[in-house]
């Protein structure tokens, strides 16, 4: 009797352990979403919203290097002949340079099988969804919609004298920047600024650096006035 009891207990324990192991091994999309934070700096999940890398919306069964709206694929990726699916994506995020040598994605890969499984579980869901999860802004910007931004972001004038830019915004404030700390950029996307109203966005380092974002390249030189009068 005692021996049989022990057997039952051992068997039950073994089963519980097996179930726990299987649970832990099952891909978890929630954990995968956390892993995706590292990808989100360069990849959006919104259709055709490409940043440093292409949008990942609809990536399953897409041919590598074939999203028509993304113009920056490497030749290596475009000529790889790979179609993205569970197997090829797992190999890709394990070691991109091994799967497609010479591609441009600056990512080392994820060694951990479980992290890859989690990430792919999340991606497969999110990439097929009509309503991708809201993403924190990619690091390249896009956090602020410059068409609807507040007056402190709307640039009325930029003057330039020696090594200093003075940027006047719609809230009436004028700020001085060392020229090497002010970055002129262009954003022609829907989130970009209106024509003729560049956006001023802070760029870290205690507020002494900033981006002035124009709607097109042609605007830049004409908008900035050489003027030492105010200084």
């Amino acid at each position: 009797m005692k021996q049989r009891y022990l057997t039952v207990v051992l068997a039950a324990t073994g089963m519980a352990f097996a179930i726990a192991t299987a649970w832990a091994a099952a891909p978890d999309a929630n954990r995968g979403e956390q892993v995706f934070a590292a990808c989100a700096a360069c990849h959006s999940l919104e259709p055709n919203r490409s940043m440093t890398g292409p949008s990942l919306a609809g990536v399953w069964n897409r041919k590598a290097g074939s999203l028509a709206s993304f113009p920056r694929y490497s030749t290596a990726l475009m000529s790889s002949g790979i179609v993205w699916n569970d197997t090829s994506l797992d190999k890709w995020i394990k070691n991109p340079q091994q799967l497609i040598p010479g591609n441009d994605m600056p990512f080392q890969g994820i060694e951990d099988d479980r992290q890859r499984a989690d990430l792919l579980a999340f991606l497969k869901q999110a990439a097929q969804s009509e309503h991708p999860p809201a993403q924190m802004g990619g690091m390249g910007g896009g956090e602020i919609n410059l068409k609807t931004a507040g007056p402190e972001h709307l640039v009325r004038a930029v003057s330039y004298c020696r090594d200093t830019y003075r940027v006047t915004t719609s809230d009436g404030k004028t700020r001085a920047f060392w020229e090497r700390n002010l970055r002129f950029k262009v954003d022609g996307s829907n989130g970009g600024p209106e024509k003729g109203v560049p956006g001023l966005v802070g760029a870290g380092s205690a507020g002494d650096r900033a981006d002035v974002i124009f709607s097109s390249v042609e605007e830049i030189s004409g908008f900035i006035k050489n003027d030492c009068g105010a200084q």
């Binding site: 360069c42 940043m51 440093t52 113009p71 020229e179 970055r183 507020g207 390249v217 042609e218």
Partner: protein
């Protein structure tokens, strides 16, 4: 005392030495101060009139606050403070800049440790004397190299803009694609800036997918970059 072992006496002597050493340090150790200055060097040069985010600190002692003629970005607060920089005012300044001159623009919290301030000022007082500026490591804002003397991979020959992509061709014959938001157009009109008509491409972190494109003047930018796919 008679209860003390030899080991205890040695330990006591060591403690005494350590207790005395801060008193020595109040004179300030310039070598330690130079390492602290690394934090300042991101914004302040020691070369005369080489201004970056903040003014050059060359010949700072006995200068009126906000009084360096070649620096054009002083706050009103600093200019109207009527402070003259000396041992005492500089110590108060780096203890808590916003306390000494409320509303000034220097984004620096201050240094609480009196010993660290003494070290920093010992270094600065020496290094800001005419002709004493040590060679400085690269500053964060750039300017660490002369952009008139560019390697082929930095010397930009052509830039086109198509859709959301800049294509930058350099003198080594390579053309690189950048997402438009990853390319920062800048100017550098200083002696270290690029030659007119020859902008410089400098990598800007993030694994090489971002870069600075630095022109000699803002009027060059729109003309240099050609629309075209």
């Amino acid at each position: 005392m008679s209860h003390m072992s030899q080991a205890e006496m040695v330990a006591t002597a060591l403690v005494l030495c350590i207790a005395v050493s801060p008193a020595f340090a109040s004179g300030g150790d310039a070598a330690r101060g130079q390492r602290l200055f690394d934090n300042c060097a991101a914004c302040h040069s020691l070369t005369p009139n080489r201004n970056m985010t903040g003014p050059s600190l060359a010949e700072l002692w006995n200068r009126k606050a906000g009084g360096l003629a070649s620096f054009s970005r002083y706050s009103d607060a600093l200019k109207s403070s009527n402070i003259v920089w000396n041992d005492k005012t500089l110590d108060e300044w780096i203890t808590d800049p916003q306390h000494l001159i409320p509303g000034n623009d220097m984004p620096f919290q201050g240094i609480k440790s009196a010993e660290q301030r003494a070290d920093l000022l010992a270094f600065l007082k020496e290094a800001t004397q005419p002709g004493h500026a040590p060679s400085q490591g690269g500053q964060m804002g750039g300017g660490d190299s002369n952009l008139k003397d560019l390697a082929p991979e930095q010397r930009v020959q052509a830039v086109t803009h198509c859709g959301d992509t800049f294509k930058v061709t350099t003198a080594n014959g390579k053309t690189r694609d950048f997402w438009e938001r990853n390319l920062r157009l800048k100017t550098d009109s200083s002696d270290d800036g690029p030659a007119k008509g020859t902008p410089a491409l400098l990598p800007a972190g993030m694994m090489g997918d971002r870069a600075d494109l630095i022109f000699a003047a803002p009027e060059e930018i729109s003309g240099f970059i050609k629309p075209g796919c």
